[in-house]
Symmetry: C3
Subunit: 328 residues, 3 copies
Amino acid sequence: MGLKSKDLISIKDLDRNELRLILDTAESFKEVGARDIKKVPTLRGKTVVNLFFEPSTRTRTSFELAAKRLSADLINIAVNSSSVVKGETLVDTARNLEAMQADLIVVRHPCAGAPALLAGKMASAVINAGDGAHEHPTQALLDLFTIRERKKTLEGLTVVIVGDILHSRVARSAIHALKMVGSSVRVVGPPTMIPREIARWDVEVFYQYDEALKGADVVMILRLQLERQGRSLFPTIREYADLYGLTARRLAMAKDDVLVMHPGPINRGVEIAPEVADGISSVILSQTTNGVAVRMAVLYLLSMGARADEQITRSSDAPTPRARTGEA
Amino acid sequence: MGLKSKDLISIKDLDRNELRLILDTAESFKEVGARDIKKVPTLRGKTVVNLFFEPSTRTRTSFELAAKRLSADLINIAVNSSSVVKGETLVDTARNLEAMQADLIVVRHPCAGAPALLAGKMASAVINAGDGAHEHPTQALLDLFTIRERKKTLEGLTVVIVGDILHSRVARSAIHALKMVGSSVRVVGPPTMIPREIARWDVEVFYQYDEALKGADVVMILRLQLERQGRSLFPTIREYADLYGLTARRLAMAKDDVLVMHPGPINRGVEIAPEVADGISSVILSQTTNGVAVRMAVLYLLSMGARADEQITRSSDAPTPRARTGEA
Amino acid sequence: MGLKSKDLISIKDLDRNELRLILDTAESFKEVGARDIKKVPTLRGKTVVNLFFEPSTRTRTSFELAAKRLSADLINIAVNSSSVVKGETLVDTARNLEAMQADLIVVRHPCAGAPALLAGKMASAVINAGDGAHEHPTQALLDLFTIRERKKTLEGLTVVIVGDILHSRVARSAIHALKMVGSSVRVVGPPTMIPREIARWDVEVFYQYDEALKGADVVMILRLQLERQGRSLFPTIREYADLYGLTARRLAMAKDDVLVMHPGPINRGVEIAPEVADGISSVILSQTTNGVAVRMAVLYLLSMGARADEQITRSSDAPTPRARTGEA
């Protein structure tokens, strides 16, 4: 049993059963990370490519470790050392990797929609590792995994997402995922950072942090992207920290057993106070640990799916990759 | 049986039998890439270094995959993060890699002759992955492999090479290789891009593309290096595209079963029209696939040769690497 | 039997027996590098991270090869492509790697003390691969290994260290190590490059190179960091080369069987004349070879130690990594 789609571009690609399948699979892979020998032969001889058009340590490393612990061969391609500078199109770059028999291509790109574009042009499985302000589905999956691990359920929870909702792919993916599993979502942030289409998302909108936190089971903090500061979404970092920084005092508004989450890297003293980041409610480092397990699960499940998909493709009249490029 | 030279610097290092040995070996490795588990233990415990003094995705990745599918350990060294900035000489950099017991060193360098210089100073096998406007022998080998795969022969074909012959290491290597196997070569491009020594190369020179294409079995398109545009080799990119861009209309001048080749990355709409790049004559993505197989073959054959060479060296009075560095 | 400390930050972390244990272990690993298959399964399934906040080819590559020859999974993180640019603290970066179950973290950092800071905050083993002008302990270990290999002893030797002692982590580590094993150390260099606290180090200070070389068993040359030239530590490179460049003529002042060492990369014609670098006294390339073996030994011994340490930690009331981050 695998996933229906050959790719993971958006949380919307998944149904509720598939989402559960990924989390359950991740659970068994998490155990591998705790072993003395953190390695299984599952993807031996498979090729996984990290194709990153934006700098990233955390996500790139997490996928790299996931691939290596599954015994896959992992190739890192970062945009600046790449032929993209030579003017090749994105699709041509990816097709070339596919021609080198890459089984799974993990893509991060500053433009929303880039991974979907690639997925539609290739037989290889494509995993979206973050595209512009669109989606970052493996982040949402690891968030759900972490919540389920602690709360033993995903249903009926109240989750507060705080910060720059407008520009956040993390928020978009998390909201889709949380709604799918039956949690209710509150968003809170400065009005300049709340997207207009929020009305269509079935979430509650708050502008007062303390208000939003009342009765919360989980607080998901978004990173304040300091590099956006010049764009006048808020007056100063200090003011942002005052209004939307999570302090111990403020956290006391939430439930006693609230979980504090952050996708990292954290800005200590801005969106999160050090005493909260390092406090007993914080599961931030667990998110990192779980990220590797969740990505192992996604790589594994898509590697099965890709294979199945390939066979279907080959026996039908759908174009195979070779035929598609016009080669007889 | 291996290769006589311990290195692959130029196509001229090979004789016709060796060239055939490489292509035949690549054929058996190509099958590995089509397997579910794309990995053989052939070079387990060998160290391959990608030493790249110029940015490259395609060639670097192709060698990396080739090494990994042979189970070798692969180390990437890119020039900017390297001690070359600290002023070490090229030879000292390479000797250090050899001292770390690198078995095979793949070198790309902007200066023609750099890989040959290294090869002469080291016992490790050196593979030229492109040196200035000199040679790029594995590119020529994968081109020949691709032609042989489609045409079932390499003899008696008419191959047209089009573009900036003057600055192209791809053209130089391809011409040597094609002459060696008994094909006839035509070159075509603006007069400013045809080298003066062409007279000595035993090729036909054309300035009209349509003329050159008549009766062609293969068209090898060279990349227009847009970054050279300021150097007045041609007035504008548009003019170049008009005169030397391969369109479907123009391609009709060639034989019906003509193959269209390009080393990549392609400039769509400049030297190649999209309908040709993606058309039924294009074997561009096959070249990429075959590149991995050909590089596996070269790594494998040189790893044998290097070993043999080492033994010969050790039993003779020729200096061993250690003796050469003056250590007793 | 392993090492008492979970980390290797300074040569001072080791006692004489531990130092000998590392060298003896390295000796058995050196044999692996000479095999046809340079690989042992010792660290299979372990994760080693190269976390480099300064550019480096030599040291980074040496650790990468050491890890791969031990069959560990190796992740390279270079500072410029890292989330450090996003403002994360050093400790948070490292804790995240630990949360991804990195077993060993190799750190190079421009600030003295950075690796020690990390070591104190983490359960993972931390190896200092050079921190500012503080220490570079694996360099000192490979130097001792190389001397012992040639001289069959480390006791009673006269070792001259020449150059910029003030800014050299290599010199600091070497001096500690040499004193520990019972050799006597002389330092020589321009007065501007001799640190004031030298009086407390139990070494002889010279300002005349020829004088210092008399009766020397070993000369350890430090790299002249040409990028520091503007800081007026000496008038010109030529003057430095005249006074502190090792020529064959000058080397004749030392013992006949003197060893010439340099951590690399060398500046030919500055601190070392080419005829000396390539001469019969030079063991510079042996240092490189031995570096891989010594790092294999350190990775191996700390991987044991880390495990032991972990168990001790777990059965005591000391905070485990999880507890430390505040997670229940």
